[in-house]
């Protein structure tokens, strides 16, 4: 693993290092304060190609770091280079960077197609090329059938996929994804993860943030762990992996047949607990093996034609794992 972090600013780079810097995303002693509130502090980090996971509890600085590397925010201190470009020069950077933000807002009145197509026209593409790339992006996220519907009428998962399509539509070399799996049902989640892996295999840098550890663990080549605006761990994820696997995760699900799902899940020993909510649509499940659980859940949903409303990981258990992983480093800052 080539990812490096430190609390010290980098010194003069040698020629090979400079070439490497042009193929990496480099944070050099970067801090961001919102008035007196800390966003991130003294981050020095080099992210190589491949999939990098930014993980940390809510408020740890993941989105701030992403907004800084895409120029939506300016650092209070330090410098950032994305493949050798400064994020402040958006007219260069965004030709090869796509950012799927968490902002769940869209220009009013646009259809899914118009949302991507208009974005590509603002890039400066001619009609034919913009049209072709729009359909390719919509096809990649499985949104072709809903392309002519207004985005306002989309479900949360569809809106998430529309944002993803926008981010990949111009075929960027760097893809920054802020909680991209939020709101997706298990099957869409698996498909999107496969898409990320394919894009990474094609040579794309993918920076993905999540507060769901097992997801990041599953797809990332390298992981940066953030807490309270500081990078507290990075690189070796084996300890994290063991810890994740030892802690049961708690999944909340809403669907039309929760009793059936619970009974099918209970046939497997890696499901520790499943309890029904009083409204007869909610289900809480605890499992020790997230990967096997999600695979099983997908097949149960397909085999029984279950209408899924949401599947989310409860934060409580995740925070317990963070607390263990971060330990004293996350305290007393």
């Amino acid at each position: 693993m080539t990812m490096t972090t430190s609390n010290q600013p980098t010194t003069e780079l040698s020629t090979p290092d400079r070439i490497a810097a042009h193929q990496s995303i480099v944070f050099d002693n970067v801090s961001k304060f919102y008035g007196e509130v800390l966003g991130v502090n003294r981050v020095t980090l080099t992210l190589p190609p491949g999939i990098t996971g930014l993980v940390g509890p809510n408020g740890s600085g993941k989105t701030t770091l992403m907004n800084l590397m895409t120029g939506l925010l300016r650092p209070t201190d330090g410098t950032i280079r994305v493949l050798g470009e400064s994020p402040s020069a958006g007219q260069h950077l965004f030709r090869h960077l796509g950012y799927c933000t968490q902002f769940d807002a869209f220009p009013a009145g646009m259809t899914g197609y118009q949302f991507i197509y208009s974005f590509l026209r603002v890039h400066g593409l001619a009609h034919t090329e913009a049209d072709s790339l729009t359909w390719q992006a919509l096809e990649r996220v499985n949104l072709k059938d809903a392309a002519k519907r207004r985005v306002e009428g989309y479900s949360k998962g569809m809106r998430q996929r529309a944002r993803l399509a926008q981010a990949i539509s111009h075929q960027p070399k760097v893809l920054v994804l802020d909680e991209p799996l939020n709101g997706l049902d298990p099957m869409a989640r698996a498909e999107v993860i496969a898409l990320f892996q394919q894009l990474a295999a094609e040579g794309c840098h993918i920076i993905i943030s999540s507060h769901i550890l097992h997801e990041v663990d599953m797809i990332s080549d390298q992981v940066v762990l953030l807490s309270s605006g500081y990078v507290v761990a990075d690189g070796d994820v084996s300890g994290m992996r063991t810890e994740i696997h030892e802690h049961p995760i708690q999944v909340l699900m809403r669907c039309d047949k929760p009793s059936l799902v619970a009974s099918r899940l209970f046939e497997h020993d890696f499901v520790v607990e499943a309890s029904l909510h009083d409204d007869r649509r909610g289900l809480m499940i605890r499992t020790r093996e997230a990967d096997r659980f999600y695979g099983l859940l997908n097949s149960i949903i397909v085999d029984n034609d279950i209408d899924v409303e949401t599947v989310t990981v409860a934060d409580g258990d995740v925070n317990a794992v963070y607390k263990y992983l971060i330990g004293n480093e996350g305290e007393g800052r």
């Binding site: 939506l72 007219q91 807002a105 974005f119 400066g124 072709s132 990649r140 075929q171 070399k173």
Partner: protein, 299 residues
């Protein structure tokens, strides 16, 4: 849902030649910037012409037209007709002065103040900021879209208002005034003033929307300043848009009571002066947009 498919044509730029590659450094790709400007314009024109805010603008533009149609049916209109086209021209100048300082002013406020502020409040400004478009082009594209929408609307309604002022003269009287008298020229001048006014006020309100969290307060203050312009000393008069626009009037409107008269400026200086003023404000707006961060939480 079927599995995600990857079209054979979808190839990452790193694997082949990227047709959207940037121009060589050091050169300015005017063609690319032109296409980006059109990309912004086509989105913003849609918002300027087919949105709720345009309904308010259309009301402000057409309400005086409706009132004039009703007026044309009254006995007062027949009295004006008795006074001939000279009296109708004075009336047109008087009506236009009121129309300019209320309908045109307020419409510019509605159209331009929300260009950036509206996107910030809707949390959708990042749509543009995530594309490789220069912020200067973004500012210009948004401004031009609103200006085109306002110019088309108010040039049309100005023409209608002017024609309605002469309607009591009858169709033959109107036709004589337009084609044998100064009517057509005056109509074109009034429409031109409306177009300039929309652009001039628009720049101010665009800038206010970029700098202020609550630009309506600025709008009210500017409205007050422009409204008392007739009362201001000659030097202060020159710090307003309305003063320069009045110098174009083909027929001077009747002066208000206690009005302080300042020497008008030649239209040959006023047009380039107003255009320079607009360019300066747009440059300032671009500078501001260049430094903007996306931090919706603060708004």
């Amino acid at each position: 849902m079927s599995g995600l498919s990857v079209p054979e044509t979808a190839q990452h730029p790193s694997l082949g030649q990227d047709p959207r590659a940037e121009p060589q450094t050091g050169s300015t790709d005017w063609g690319m910037m032109g296409r980006q400007l059109w990309g912004v314009l086509r989105i913003e024109l849609r918002y300027s012409l087919f949105s709720r805010r345009f309904l308010a603008v259309a009301f402000l533009a057409l309400a005086p037209v409706g009132l004039l149609i009703l007026w044309a049916l009254t006995p007062v209109a027949k009295e004006i007709a008795g006074g001939g086209s000279t009296q109708a021209m004075s009336m047109a100048a008087w009506i236009y002065a009121g129309y300019l300082s209320t309908s045109v002013f307020l419409s510019a406020l509605i159209l331009f103040m929300s260009l950036f502020r509206g996107d910030i409040l809707q949390r959708s400004l990042h749509y543009y900021f995530l594309s490789p478009v220069r912020r200067q082009i973004l500012v210009l594209g948004k401004f031009l879209a609103a200006w085109i929408a306002g110019a088309v609307t108010f040039a049309t309604s100005t023409a209608l208002i002017y024609l309605l002022c002469f309607l009591p003269l009858g169709l033959s009287g109107l036709s004589r005034h337009l084609f044998q008298g100064p009517g057509l020229g005056h109509l074109m001048i009034y429409a031109g003033i409306s177009v300039l006014a929309i652009g001039g006020y628009g720049c101010i309100f665009l800038l206010a929307g970029l700098f202020l969290r609550n630009p309506v307060v600025a709008g009210v203050l500017i409205f007050g300043w422009e409204s008392i312009n007739f009362f201001l000393p000659a030097l202060l008069k020159k710090l307003s848009v309305i003063f320069y626009l009045q110098s174009f009037y083909p027929v001077p409107p009747p002066q208000e009571l206690f009005a302080i008269v300042a020497e008008p400026i030649s239209p040959w200086l006023t047009v380039p002066g107003l255009l320079l003023f607009m360019v300066a404000l747009l440059a300032l707006a671009s500078w501001r947009a260049q430094r903007m961060e996306i931090n919706y939480g603060e708004d």
